[in-house]
Symmetry: C2
């Protein structure tokens, strides 16, 4: 039910297929982020038509609104949101650790104040598993202690070691939930009569350790000591450290990563990061930049970033990116998109977000094709050169 197979490799890059209860995900894959149970501003049909094969749900946001009890009562996140493909939920770890000044970290878990209404909530390894179980994604993520990109060795070690101790607790709790569902007598009474079916969820651990290669290696070793796993995530990157540092960490970890597991680089997904990550053996990515930039009128194109508000686009017949096959580029001119942004018409946000998501998904699709054909490295170098040439991306 949670299988990963590799069809071809080129250097560290891999072309594979991840099989999950709700469908198959060809990898490398970019996973759009559905913060509030919707990829910001987009209809699930638009996400599907953009080529997405898996989406991410945010435990932190969904726990606050509408609450996992509502989602479970509505039959789980798939049924609630009408996204019927594969879905992964994060654990909320990244979000609560980002609430600087609004959270208290203890060995038991993290107490935090909701950014919505200031109410006090608590996430623990156990509750993060319970919430994700109620949400019902195909993949649940371990509850981890994330530290900033500039974190000292001491702080990074503390976070890394706690992440491993919490991983033990996540594993126990998740196994209980799966066993309970399988025996029909969950340790924790289901909120309604629709518990997830058998084997519908797997748990992936997260490697931490900040920017310190030694800690990253310890984290990976500790994580693998707790095997078996069906996938492996690398977290705590793209959180303020320079890009070469991130690439270095991936290169350093590479040889020690089990080849058979899908590798998910959390929160990373600018176009160049995607290609650099794939070249270093990453299979799955997610990032909010596609929709966040889209909402601000910033579009990725084959020739770098484009600001749709620029006066240059005032009467431009061109699509955002002449090489793009997305619904927006096939239909609308830059002039119209610019007008929508200048007039603050919501449709503009949506149209540029669709483009940006399709742009990343297509990039991952092209990477897969070129790995299968054996031309990945050549294509990647060409692609990055042209993308960076204009110098404003």
């Amino acid at each position: 039910m949670f299988e990963f197979s590799i069809a071809a490799t080129e250097g560290e890059a891999r072309a594979g297929t991840l099989r999950l209860p709700h469908g198959e995900v060809p990898t490398p894959a970019f996973m759009p982020v559905g913060t509030h149970g919707a990829v910001r501003g987009l209809h699930p049909e638009e996400v599907r038509r953009a080529g997405a094969r898996i989406v991410l749900g945010n435990t932190y946001h969904l726990h606050l609104r509408p609450g996992e009890a509502v989602v479970q009562a509505m039959g789980g996140l798939h049924r609630f949101t009408r996204w019927d493909g594969p879905m992964l939920t994060d654990s909320g770890g990244f979000q609560v650790f980002s609430l600087e000044g609004l959270r208290k970290i203890e060995e038991g878990g993290v107490e935090f104040q909701s950014h919505v209404d200031g109410a006090i909530h608590r996430l623990t390894p156990e509750s993060a598993m319970d919430i994700q179980w109620a949400l019902g994604g195909d993949v649940a993520m371990a509850f981890d202690h994330v530290v900033p990109g500039q974190a000292s060795y001491e702080l990074a070690r503390e976070g890394m070691e706690r992440t491993l101790r919490w991983l033990d607790r996540c594993k126990v709790r998740h196994a209980q939930l799966v066993a309970g569902a399988n025996s029909g007598a969950g340790e924790r009474p289901p909120l309604d009569s629709r518990p997830p079916a058998l084997d519908t969820q797997t748990l992936w651990p997260i490697v931490q350790g900040g920017t310190h290669p030694e800690l990253r290696r310890s984290s990976l070793a500790g994580t693998l000591d707790r095997a078996p796993w069906t996938g492996l995530a690398i977290g705590g990157l793209s959180v303020g450290e320079p890009k070469p540092v991130m690439y270095g960490i991936l290169e350093d970890l590479g040889p020690a990563l089990p080849r058979a597991l899908p590798r998910y680089l959390m929160g990373v997904g600018f176009p160049d990061d995607l290609l650099e990550g794939i070249a270093r053996g990453i299979d799955v990515f997610d990032c909010v930049a596609a929709t966040r930039n889209g909402r601000h009128g910033s579009a990725w194109t084959r020739e770098g970033k484009l600001n749709i508000r620029a006066a240059a686009h005032r009467i431009s017949e061109e699509p955002l990116d002449p090489e793009c096959d997305c619904e927006t580029c096939r239909t609308f001119s830059r002039a119209y998109l610019r007008h929508l942004f200048m007039a603050e018409e919501m449709l503009g946000l949506r149209l540029v977000s669709i483009h940006n998501i399709r742009f990343l998904i297509r990039l991952a699709e092209q990477a897969r094709t070129t790995v299968l054909d054996g031309g990945f490295d050549h294509w990647r170098s060409d692609w990055l050169r042209r993308y960076h040439e204009r110098g404003d991306s």
Copy 2:
């Protein structure tokens, strides 16, 4: 090219077909409002799938942003916005007269301050024609002097008489534009090389006169003195006067309206107004309430108005309206829609707007069917009774 035929009548209600350069519009018809060249928040495909056969473009808003020069350079509003069906543009009269304190009315025209950047603009009967010609809608509206619903006899008479004088100027200017396009030598040089094709636009006059039946009759008589017309609008209603007053004006005007012309009741379009208007001989409606209410989470249903934020919908599996065939009702639960509004997720605004637009379009479709079948009056009474029963609509 601008034909109207009536297939059946029942009492004053009519089932007809309006033929315009960009297509046919079965009537009665509800026309969604595309303020900034987009029906707020909606993709033209969504508007089409909701059953819209004609949309309205706002001259005031499009003149300010992006400006008619941009629209014309992009090949006209149809090509710019990718709505390829029939389109009507208003004249901006209603909007500039609503700019209380920001506008100066003279016989020549209206000077006003842009609500966007405070810049001074001027609309005259001639410029309103020029702008609408550049926008390129199938139907252009005369530039009228609109007075508030509570306007005195004197003020209403002033506005009504000025509207007739301005109508003369609109007619002259519009005829020049049409003649110029037909001769290939417009009086006013086209902004680019794509002037509208021959006979692509007609001009409809607007009956004014406030809430004073005598003035309304004079306005209609004066308007018909200036015939021929291909359609006729009734403006200055639903601007603050009680609904029975509006219905009374329509009943009073009814016998004097030429049967052969399509009748457009401007800015009117709550569900009950639609049915009451159709019963009084109206063929075409427009109103921003569908999308404005949609953005605020207020949905029309067969049983009256529904506020999707209400706690009652927290875990409701029901669609907004179990009898509705719109994309939203066929796909999403009230619980999910409520969640989207509570989480301030843009998708919610869109989904409820789609429902509201489809609701009105379908109501007009049903009215047409029942007029053709001879059961309109019976259906209308039943419909209104049930709609008003719950008492909160």
